[in-house]
């Protein structure tokens, strides 16, 4: 009789552990999803800001048609990449960041533009949006790390495998493209 109680007790304990682990996994996965939604909001903001920026800058920058076009193109590509998975999207966004930084680097050559109030406000918005993107990416990656640890470490990996929790994907940055020093020639 006692043996039966012990078995029942162990089974109950195992079920309780299973439920707790499962709930923990769900919580972490939701956090990852929420963090991803945050990135999306900021990326969308950046896409909305760019036409505005190009419009403002166009009048001043007569000789930078190529740079402006590359920004517009990169923005369109980034917008098309939405919904095509974390990998594709992070690649397109990294290209956009590169194009933007090249544009803002040549701004240095146009003192009139730098005095434009409208442009200054846009620049503050853009800088902040870039920051928000990198901070939301940071939070997303931290969340993914926590979630992945949970899905891969013993014993929670058993629960994760049984109930079908898949490891999350990091939002990588193409460091080379982003950190690339813009070439400014004075010739």
């Amino acid at each position: 009789m006692i043996a039966v109680y012990i078995v029942i007790g162990i089974v109950a304990l195992l079920i309780a552990l299973f439920v707790l682990t499962f709930n923990g996994l769900v919580r972490l996965r939701n956090q990852v999803r929420n963090a991803w939604a945050q990135i999306d909001v900021q990326l969308k903001r950046r896409h909305d800001l760019i036409p505005n920026l190009v419009e403002t800058v166009k009048g001043y920058m007569k000789h930078e048609r190529e740079t402006l076009e590359s920004v517009t193109n990169a923005r369109n590509l980034a917008q098309q990449a939405i919904g095509k998975g974390v990998g594709a999207q992070s690649k397109a966004e990294a290209d956009l960041s590169g194009a933007l930084s090249r544009l803002l680097a040549v701004v240095e050559n146009y003192p009139d533009l730098k005095a434009n109030q409208n442009f200054l406000a846009l620049q503050e918005e853009l800088t902040s949006t870039e920051n928000k993107i990198s901070f939301s990416r940071q939070f997303y990656n931290d969340s993914v790390l926590g979630y992945n640890n949970k899905t891969q470490m013993f014993p929670s990996n058993i629960v994760a495998n049984v109930t079908g929790f898949k490891a999350g994907e990091f939002f990588e940055v193409e460091v080379a493209a982003e950190r690339e020093a813009p070439e400014v020639s004075f010739s």
Binding site: L104, S128, F135
Partner: protein, 404 residues
């Protein structure tokens, strides 16, 4: 990553319980000495404590903000500050954007308040807003966000209330004892309680003297730990400890005093507002660790911005080793890289210089005080108070007459 919140909660419980026990002990002796019954004293102490706690819990942040003469600002009032707060909100993973307040004071300080992350506010003095560049502002706001995120605000206000109750009760106790001795209200002689009562009274007197000191010590110890933790979190959020370090240096070098600071809520500020008059804040604070030390720790965080890096830097500075971050938060934490100066991935910093920042903030203060701004043709900006009744105003610079 967020385990320290749980570890904190347990430690906070112990702390609050210790202070509550101290309070009840005082109540007990008060009851025995003046009310003739221990229960009466206990009930009195409890009642005062509960009422004050309820007030602090539900109205604490509004009272605190009102006492500090803080004024709420919106996004358009100061876009950069708003953006920085939003950035830190994202980095810390808070759900709700805190309200932002400005205190019109040249002193350099900032604080966070609000009982939980859903109802939180950050406040910053106009002086600090002028002084800091974007990276430094980010560090300071990150520190305040960490206070909100770690629920330090709630804990420190509950402790502050307990401390306040203890101080008030023991103050009245000693006064009452003094007066009853002076004017011969010696009830004990008629009751003939004898030695037992005398001993209880003596113990009570000693307790009344020691209790506030003890309570302050507990309070300060916790507060200092929280400051370290908030610094570590700020470094982790911004990935840039140097920002907070150089902000702290500026804060420490300033000698201006915050006029509207509140003693009980000193731990809420980023640096102790009650340092000695006219002196720099460096190393004089008690609710806060010495600023120079906080700066040194942040500066020696080599190779990473994680809690583990902060902890390593802390033990390097304190020769004996030691640890400020709960073990549970360190376990399983991954390496966190630092970022280079200037925001990662950001193309160019639209960094307004000192003059622009000062102008920005003073314009903001004029606006908030309901002054109208009229730009004269000569380029001078005239600030007209709302009480100004005349139809025209003469520009003091060029003499043109401008319609109001």
């Amino acid at each position: 990553m967020w385990e320290q919140i749980r570890a904190n909660r347990i430690r906070s419980m112990v702390l609050v319980a210790a202070m509550a026990a101290l309070l009840l002990l005082i109540g007990y002796f008060l009851g025995v000495a003046f009310l003739g019954s221990a229960i009466g004293g206990l009930i009195m102490a409890l009642a005062i404590w509960i009422v004050m706690t309820l007030v602090a819990f539900f109205q604490g942040d509004s009272i605190f903000l009102a006492l500090s003469k803080a004024r709420k600002i919106e996004r358009d009032d100061h876009p950069r500050l708003y953006n920085v707060v939003e950035e830190m909100k994202i980095a810390s993973g808070l759900e709700k954007m805190p309200d932002i307040y400005i205190i019109d004071d040249p002193a350099l300080n900032a604080f966070a308040t609000g009982r939980d992350p859903k109802r939180a506010s950050v406040a910053i003095t106009s002086g600090l807003l002028q002084k800091l560049n974007r990276d430094e502002l980010q560090g300071v706001i990150g520190h305040e966000m960490a206070h909100i995120r770690n629920r330090d605000v709630l804990l420190m206000s509950l402790c502050g209330v307990l401390l306040g109750t203890i101080v008030i009760l023991s103050w009245y106790f000693t006064r009452m004892l003094f007066f009853s001795a002076m004017f011969g209200g010696r009830r004990s002689s008629s009751s003939g309680g004898g030695y037992a009562q005398v001993i209880i009274l003596l113990v009570g007197i000693v307790l009344m003297i020691l209790a506030p000191i003890l309570a302050y010590l507990i309070y300060f110890a916790v507060s200092r730990k929280r400051e370290y933790l908030a610094d570590a979190s700020s470094a982790q959020y911004t990935r840039y400890p140097e920002g907070l370090a150089s902000a702290l240096e500026k804060l420490g070098a300033s000698t201006a005093e915050l006029k509207s600071a509140n003693q009980a809520l000193a731990p809420m500020y980023i640096i102790n507002p009650f340092r000695k008059k006219g002196r720099a804040a460096t190393d004089l604070s008690s609710t806060h660790p010495p600023i120079s030390e906080r700066v040194r720790i942040l500066r020696s965080m080599a190779g990473g911005a994680s809690f583990a890096d902060y902890n390593a830097a802390f033990s390097k500075i304190h020769k004996g080793g030691g640890s400020v971050i709960p073990q549970s938060a360190l376990a399983g934490a991954a390496a966190v890289g630092l970022r280079a100066a200037g925001p990662e991935a950001a193309p160019l910093e639209p960094e307004p210089g000192k003059v622009e920042r000062t102008r920005e903030v003073s314009d903001l203060m004029w606006r908030m005080n309901n002054y109208r701004t009229i730009t004269c043709d000569c380029g001078t900006k005239l600030k007209v108070p709302s009480k100004f009744k005349k139809a025209n105003v003469r520009c003091p610079h060029c003499g043109r007459i401008n319609p109001v």
